[in-house]
Amino acid sequence: MREITLSKAVNEAIAEEMRRDPAIFLMGEDVAEAGTPFKVLSGLVEEFGPNRILDTPISEPGFMGMAVGAAMTGSRPIVDLMFGDFIFLVMDQLCNQAAKTHYMSGGKLSVPLVLRTNLGATRRSAAQHSQSLHALVAHIPGLRVAMPSSAYEAKGLMKTAIRDENPVVIFEDKLMYNDKAPVPDEEYLIPFGEANILREGRDITLIGTSSMVQVCEQAAEILAEQGIEAEVIDPRTIVPLDEDTLINSVKKTSRAIVVDEGHQSFGITGEIASRLNEKAFYHLDAPVQRLGAMDVPVPFSPALEDITVPTPERVVEQALKAIKGELFHGA
């Protein structure tokens, strides 16, 4: 099978969907000729023209709000938000308007839009271009949240997002744009709410989102060398969350670590750990552990930045503690 980059996969997904449905258009900053700073959208304006690949001024709340109005009236907009950190700028339009319109109108109006943006630290971009803010939007009912972990996932999830009748926020890891993975030539979609078990194991479950899936896979390799079988699961979408697959895995392994690049406090890791505690408590041999980003603004200095995010080594260290029964209260 051919291998393509995550960037190319996103580009293909959008192009295929735009060929299928003329109601789709894409708007954002420097999306046309520039093809975004990450060159993810290169070539689209040449095929679809400037009316469907729409360069906007630097006005995130403005074009986010316009996408909501466009989606309510028959168009299917894709909004490109250059950095995930800018999500704070669009919060009212995303969370007060897009997320609530279907509900507040008693089901009469709907907002089928996609907000594609990114996450991920260690690019030396400092505190305002490095955050992983998916927990903020996952908290708001009415939004769906997808987190692709490879080129294959990115293409299939993007196509599903575009066809969804609800507002979907899709977070791509900006450090993975050049990562290649096998992607079939044939069309495929990846349904929301169906977790992917990447590796089966009986000793511990490692749940990772986005690039943390790679971290979990690397940790599983290291653990395997020590005779420990880790099961690695990618939830793919955190809203909706495939609770059943996660719970069934933990019932089998009796231990779990949840790894995510958002800040550890009040985040995705806590939410998933809590659900596992509520629904698989009597199957657990150790507390479910959380590994998120440190609760600090992302620092610029490489010496500091690298220690703020979960690494395979830390996953391994925590996994061994869980397996050896070394997780004590207060430890």
């Binding site: 001024p57 709340p61 403005g62 709000g65 168009s75 308007q97 507040m104 008693g106």
Partner: protein
């Protein structure tokens, strides 16, 4: 009442008078329901501003869109909504326009092109401008009117979207209802410079009109809607008007920010319904008896709708988590 029928002046005059009377009657009843503690939550009265909503919406087709505000009952009635569903919504009943989930501040009436009231001041500016972008994208000739108050001039979103509307010649009309107060504060204390100067800065054509004169509002709106339909938009209208009630129905003792004699002046000398009624009599469009009949009929309609809504049932509690997400079509997305 067919809103798309080709109208004679006579028909249009009568309809505009009826619609203004309907808005006033709706608000009087809503106020009573609230004061009698029969209406939950809070509500914001449109009384006094009727000529704005009616003069503009008379110029629109039912396929044209509007976005509305927390003070939105008038826009909703003017765009063609029925009393029954509106009162049901205000009382949180199942038969309300939004099945009771939106309430006074979120009434939406998609069939008549009302994309919804919005409880965030200035929050619908993006939606309105996006609806106009959508019409252009889909090759429709729909025009969108964005209603907002002078208070929304403090919101940055408005300037971002007016900029894009001007860059892309979008068919949107920004209707700024200057009722002189943003909540409990005078407009002069909140907005520096000329109100229209804001839109002029983007090269948008601006207009100022007496918002108590329904004929003046309608004449300007007819012109601008047709021009917007031909791709000559966007436009910005400042409509000078006055709200008779406080910011919301509970805002009773308000002399600290608004003198009683000022309220009295607007009510007695500048009332849009009284003045238009007098004009209709003078021009012999309607007789006093016909005017009275309109008031009587509207009053009876409102009374019947209130009684209906009071007796109507609440949504079943199973609806609480319905409509959080729209069901995707079978075989479509997940």
């Amino acid at each position: 009442m067919s809103r798309n029928a080709k109208k004679s002046n006579h028909e249009a005059y009568v309809r505009m008078y009826q619609q203004m009377v309907r808005i006033r009657a709706f608000e009087d009843n809503a106020n009573k329901l609230y004061l009698a503690a029969k209406m939950p939550g809070l509500t914001h009265m449109y009384s006094g501003q009727e000529a704005v909503a009616v003069g503009i919406c008379e110029a629109l087709k039912s396929t044209d869109k509007i976005t509305s505000t927390h003070r939105g009952h008038g826009h909703c009635v003017a765009k063609g909504a029925d009393f029954k569903e509106m009162f049901c919504e205000l009382l949180g009943k199942e038969e309300g326009y939004c099945r009771g989930k939106g309430g006074s501040m979120h009434i939406a009436d998609q069939e008549n092109g009302n994309l919804g009231a919005n409880a965030i001041v200035g929050g619908s500016a993006g939606i309105a401008t996006g609806a106009a972008l959508s019409a252009k994208h889909l090759g429709k000739d729909d025009v969108t009117v964005c209603f907002f108050g002078d208070g929304a001039l403090g919101q940055g979103l408005l300037y971002e979207v007016m900029n894009m509307a001007a860059l892309w010649n979008l068919p949107v009309i920004y209707a700024c209802e200057n009722n002189l107060y943003g909540e409990y504060t005078k407009v002069e204390e909140m907005a520096a410079g000329e109100l229209t100067g804001r839109a002029k800065a983007f090269g948008i054509e601006t207009f100022v009109v007496n918002g108590q004169d329904v004929l003046a509002v309608n004449k300007l709106s007819e012109e601008l809607v047709e021009r917007a339909r031909k791709g000559e938009g966007p436009f910005f209208i400042q409509l000078d008007t006055y709200r008779y009630h406080g910011h919301h129905v509970g805002d009773i003792n308000r002399e600290y920010y608004r003198p009683k004699d000022e309220e009295e002046l607007w009510k007695t000398e500048r009332d849009p319904i009284t003045n238009f009624g007098a004009w209709l009599l003078k021009e012999k469009v309607l007789s006093q008896q016909e005017l009275d009949q309109i008031h009587d009929e509207v009053s009876q309609d409102a009374k019947d709708a209130v009684a209906y809504a009071e007796a109507a049932k609440y949504p079943d509690i199973s609806e609480v988590d319905m409509h959080v997400y729209k069901q995707n079509p079978v075989g479509g997305a997940a």
